[in-house]
Symmetry: C2
Subunit: 313 residues, 2 copies
């Protein structure tokens, strides 16, 4: 089968990969569509040393043609971490297309049955492929209270940042989206105040919550300037490289710096199905899986929006 | 009057300092006793560029001989931060012996009337001088829930670390105190498990809460190894220098890193008065204010316990 294979910091479309064999608790899905995420771009540059097929944002279908997506953490279900209700943090987990499990940028993918989420008919593939990143944005709402009275800023006008701003808006807040690209900030739409990162001096210490989704080591220092004392900075993106930073402001201002990763699929599916969030403005380009290498080049372009791969003709 | 004067990264005992003049809302206290804190040692090395009299842990008395200590943050009371209930974070504040306000290592000190806390007769000066650092340790209990079921570790066997471990014990936990000095770990006493920092591999990801009171840039990376996924790391000490650190584990493990600074004086006074916490084992040496420069040398010795300055003969 075809698959986007990541190895030693390069990616190639291979055409003779073996079809994946499901474990006892897995099902096989025919992949319809997959999205390229910034994590994929980092993995393609050697992050985490991943070797295998990339892809963790996807829509697939079973033999009956029913469409599904799937949560990406495959937990052991039996260790103390799983038993204590945190299977997403299972130390023995594999992660679809990220850690010890082949991903979905291929003709076929295997996922645990329990990770499946059916996709409502009202959502086309192009929208449904955003369920995973939108769920990650919804994770914030499980960690902090967001509402009309909460002053929240999102740093980074990339895809995840925009999704986080939309989630905050859906919870009644009037978020500020802060970024470097006027054309990307313009996608945010009504109910979101946009600011260029270079023009935020007047917002110092203004926000109860600042979400860092810059994917850059400039994000945390900028967030610490914007958050109020005793406020919360949510780290929504990983930075593979080491940081050099003075952490004294965290102590002096008693800030809470909170890591945030994967989130609730059902909330993302419901928000998309209700039309509460329309992700389509975030789509930048669409390719056939045959042209995956071109697609990765497009996704790597500075300022690129979401690039989709369609696996079925 | 006498005073321990900090300037350009040096400290000297001066004998001809002017007596401080109280502002409209301040009172003058005759200083009885002051403690040397690690923050004082950092200030003496140039941290925050402080120029003036050091000292923020103290016992003083008024004209009637009644003993008091005082909270160290002098807030403006009128700005939005003060009005929102966070006067400790007032951007216009002065801080006793730390920021734009003369401290208490002197014959006289001025403090705002509203910052005063009377000292119960049952507490001698040597115990009462610990009220400020013990309050800082109690701050943790305002930020996270601590109890018998909570696995908590304190990193750093210095004075503040030991106080934090004692506070956790007072709240019913059985804390682990992790440090590098067997003789300091031995001060912790019953109900506290002590570990050498070099022997904690088996404790990886074990703790719900890890308090970093190492005052070192090795503290946070060590804490991130010990805390469980979705656990909390409390940064209890500032590190003046820049850090180089990989923050990805905070995101991947969804850890909460929480700054923690000054705390509730009444809780500290009550715990000392009830005999719930006995701070006296932490006292290393006592000097007269006349010998303050010797006292600072003693406090700077590696592994030194609390050094006290007595200002009255």
């Amino acid at each position: 089968m075809r698959g986007v294979f990541c190895e030693s910091g390069t990616i190639r479309l291979l055409r003779d990969l073996p079809e994946p064999i499901p474990t006892a608790d897995e099902v096989v899905l025919r992949v319809r569509c997959a999205g390229i995420c910034d994590t994929d771009l980092q993995l393609a540059q050697g992050y985490m040393g991943f070797r295998g097929i990339l892809g963790h944002e996807f829509v697939g279908q079973n033999d009956a043609g029913i469409r599904f997506t799937a949560e990406i953490n495959n937990a052991c279900q039996v260790c103390p971490t799983c038993q204590s209700g945190r299977p997403q943090h299972c130390p023995h987990r594999t992660v679809l297309g990220i850690l010890n499990h082949e991903g979905a940028m291929a003709d076929w993918v295997t996922v645990p049955q329990r990770n499946l989420h059916a996709i409502p008919d009202s959502l086309d593939d192009r929208t449904a492929v955003f369920i995973e990143p939108l769920a990650a944005a919804f994770r914030i709402t499980e960690q902090v209270a967001i509402g009309p009275e909460v002053r929240i800023a999102v740093l980074g006008d990339g895809k995840l940042g925009t999704l986080c701003a939309w989630v905050a808006r859906a919870f009644g807040a009037r978020p500020s989206l802060i970024g470097k690209h006027p054309e990307k900030l313009a996608l945010a739409g009504d109910g979101i105040e946009t600011h260029l990162a270079s023009e935020t001096d007047s917002l110092a210490r203004h926000f109860d919550i600042v979400v860092d989704s810059t994917g850059s080591n400039t994000g945390l220092p900028a967030a610490l300037k914007l958050v109020r004392p005793c406020g919360t900075v949510i780290l929504k993106t990983t930075v593979a490289a080491d940081y050099t930073i003075n952490l004294a402001p965290i102590v002096i201002d008693e800030v809470c710096v909170l890591g945030s990763r994967c989130g609730p699929f059902p909330k993302a599916i419901a928000a998309l199905a209700k039309g509460q969030i329309d992700v389509r403005p975030l789509i930048g380009a669409e390719f056939n899986l045959d042209d995956a290498e071109d697609a990765f080049r497009a996704a790597s372009t500075k300022g690129a929006r979401k690039v989709l791969l369609h696996a079925m003709h």
